[in-house]
């Protein structure tokens, strides 16, 4: 009796559903996952510190000599014109989170809606149009698409974000579509039809919430992909326009590496590697924890 009451109470408190609680409990037992989460957390603190102006504010100031070595004053040394690489690396972390979060949220939301609509109306013209759009977007080389979007937006700093969202949602949409095709035949969806619930409400109230585990994992994957793509795009000059990023740092370092100065290159690539690695491991652990087959 007492156990019943506590579980009833935890059902209310946990609001998000005790399936989530179970997944959280499972995640907590995954040591690699917990370490990865800790790593991501540290990066997040760094990024927030930049946002609130605690550090990294001086990334654009020329404060020292050209190519100063690692020292107490310049932790990572200085670059070709004497800017502090440490400050630039910190500021770039903020950029990475900004790009990653925006793209992850945008692409996942777009993928969820289009995937769910396509899946729900699978076999009809609505589904065929969405599949056709996905096919078209998928067949344009990514970098060409960014260039095209950047050109059409008149060199807007958001061109990169928009281009990534415009392509990254497709993978999520495909997965969600498949899941929705499976879910829509389930009896609880039929029950919703039977009580007279409208189609839009059925999609958003009964179907999409049951794809959250896919969306969460897809969001983490998009986050990592966005950070990696940012580096490539910035390197090519299609990425970050105002501000600093790991990609720009690596781009800068091309001249320096030829001259035998590696600080810029190492700082940017190691920091990026750390975040991508931590996030990937976090994403894997999340997938395991959310796997419905192992959540009893």
């Amino acid at each position: 009796m007492s156990t019943m009451n506590t579980s009833a109470v935890s059902g209310i408190d946990g609001h998000g559903d005790s399936l989530w609680l179970k997944a959280a409990r499972k995640f907590k037992r995954d040591r690699v996952g917990m370490w990865a989460l800790f790593g991501v957390f540290i990066y997040a603190v760094i990024a927030l510190g930049v946002v609130f102006g605690f550090w990294g504010g001086a990334w654009a100031d020329v404060t020292g000599p050209k190519w100063a070595p690692v020292s107490a004053e310049y932790w990572f040394g200085t670059n070709i014109i004497g800017q502090d690489i440490f400050a630039r690396a910190l500021y770039s972390t903020r950029t990475a989170f900004e790009v990653g979060l925006l793209v992850a949220i945008g692409a996942t939301a777009l993928g969820a809606v289009f995937g769910a609509v396509a899946g729900f109306f699978s076999g009809t013209w609505i589904d065929e149009i969405i599949i056709w759009v996905m096919g078209v977007l998928d067949s344009v080389p990514f970098i060409l698409l960014v260039a095209a979007i950047a050109y059409s937006l008149g060199g807007s700093p958001w061109a990169m974000h928009i281009a990534m969202i415009a392509t990254f949602w497709i993978g999520t949409a495909r997965l969600v579509r498949g899941e929705v095709i499976k879910l829509k035949t389930l009896e609880y969806v039929e029950a919703a039809h039977a009580i007279g619930l409208g189609k839009v409400k059925i999609i958003f109230r009964h179907i999409l919430p049951n794809t959250f585990h896919i969306l969460l994992v897809q969001a983490t994957i998009s986050f990592v992909a966005a950070i990696k793509s940012e580096v490539i795009l910035s390197f090519l000059g299609l990425g970050v326009k105002d501000g600093m990023s790991w990609g720009l740092m690596i781009s800068e370092s091309t001249f320096e590496v030829l001259a035998g100065f590696f600080n810029n290159f190492i700082a940017a690539s190691v920091l990026m590697f750390g975040l991508v690695m931590a996030f990937n491991m976090f994403s894997d652990a999340l997938q395991d924890a959310l796997d419905p087959r192992s959540v009893k």
Binding site: T3, K22, R25, K26, V295, K296
Partner: protein, 335 residues
């Protein structure tokens, strides 16, 4: 064949399988679940025993334990012994068990679609099994497979053997499974809900076939089922399980004529039966099966029993022979 049946009958008093105090546990997120808790029974050669109970009572786990097929982790045989003709199966290594599986003991499952590999023709799957346990050439195995398919009542076996599982109906697939299970002449067949996924008319055909083959091959069978009708028709002995333990073990005629345990009585009463006059209300067993994680300390059935006493809640009644009967029952106050 006749000689074989006679031999099987002559030895029918021999104990083929003896399960003693079997305990199987599974580790779950919420804690350790004891799926089988102190189960004991014996099976004589050539005998058919029904293992009856509702979902979660441990009947399937008991069957898997006999074959050494408990998925580990999370499952584990904690204690007890399973002796096949004097050899304790729980002490055998995996390669030794593999030799016994298929040749000495076979199992057929509820869902014949998932038990057959969809990408191979049924012939090649049968030939694999035959050649794993017997010294046969490919051609001999092929011939033997066709013969087995004919025995389980598959028309045109030479044609069917070239087909893929999805080309067969549910009843036919289950027959193929039976043919594979019997192809090496096992001494014991464990049939886990073999007809539950089938339609009534198909079920009748398959049961008939199983009974026929069983007497032909002189093998013993453990029939795991929730359907008391199937037990009444096929088995000589029935073991009633509930929450991982045996509540009653009796000859089928005894069990149906005089159910001793209140659970058996309730179970028999609650089945809707075909009869001339329709009952207005079905007798029920109130409440529900307790959670295996929070089992009552005394008798597992105490909370649902209408004859419950103080003693039942304190100590679990052990399975004991009822005087002047061949029934064993785990109850302080049997009917």
């Amino acid at each position: 064949m006749i000689a074989m049946t006679a031999k099987a009958r002559a030895k029918s008093s021999d104990i083929l399988l003896s399960v003693r105090d079997l305990v199987v546990e599974f580790a779950t997120d919420q804690g350790i679940v004891r799926a089988v808790d102190g189960v004991s029974f014996t099976i004589k050669a050539g005998e058919t025993v029904g293992l009856v109970g509702e979902s979660g009572c441990g009947k399937t786990v008991t069957g898997l334990a006999i074959l050494g097929l408990i998925p580990s982790p999370p499952g584990r045989i904690v204690s007890g012994s399973i002796e096949l003709q004097g050899q304790d199966l729980t002490q055998l290594s995996e390669p030794e068990l593999r030799k016994i599986r298929g040749s000495e003991i076979s199992m057929i499952f509820q869902e014949p679609m998932t038990a057959l590999n969809p990408v191979f023709r049924i012939g090649s799957q049968m030939i694999d099994v035959l050649r794993r346990h017997q010294q046969l050439s490919k051609r001999q195995a092929h011939a033997a497979a066709i013969e087995m398919l004919a025995k389980v009542g598959i028309p045109d076996p030479a044609v069917r053997i070239e087909e893929y599982p999805h080309q067969l109906s549910g009843g036919m697939r289950q027959r193929v499974m039976i043919a594979m299970a019997l192809s090496c002449g096992p001494k014991l067949l464990i049939a886990d809900e073999p007809t539950t996924a089938l339609d009534v008319t198909t079920q009748a055909q398959v049961i008939e076939q199983i009974i026929k083959l069983q007497s032909e091959f002189g093998m013993a069978m453990i029939l795991i089922t929730h359907d008391l009708g199937v037990v009444a028709e096929t088995c000589r002995q029935a073991i009633v399980m509930y929450c991982g333990s045996v509540l009653e073990n009796a000859p089928v005629t005894e069990l149906f004529a005089h159910p001793r345990h209140p659970y058996t009585l309730g179970l028999l009463g609650s089945i809707p039966r075909l009869q001339a006059d329709r009952q207005t209300k079905l007798p029920i067993i109130s409440g529900m099966v307790p959670d295996l994680l929070h089992l009552p300390s005394g008798c597992r059935f105490a909370d649902r029993c209408n004859k419950v006493m103080q003693q039942c809640r304190q100590q679990r009644p052990l399975l004991g022979a009822l005087p002047d009967t061949s029934t064993k029952v785990a109850c302080y106050d049997p009917h």
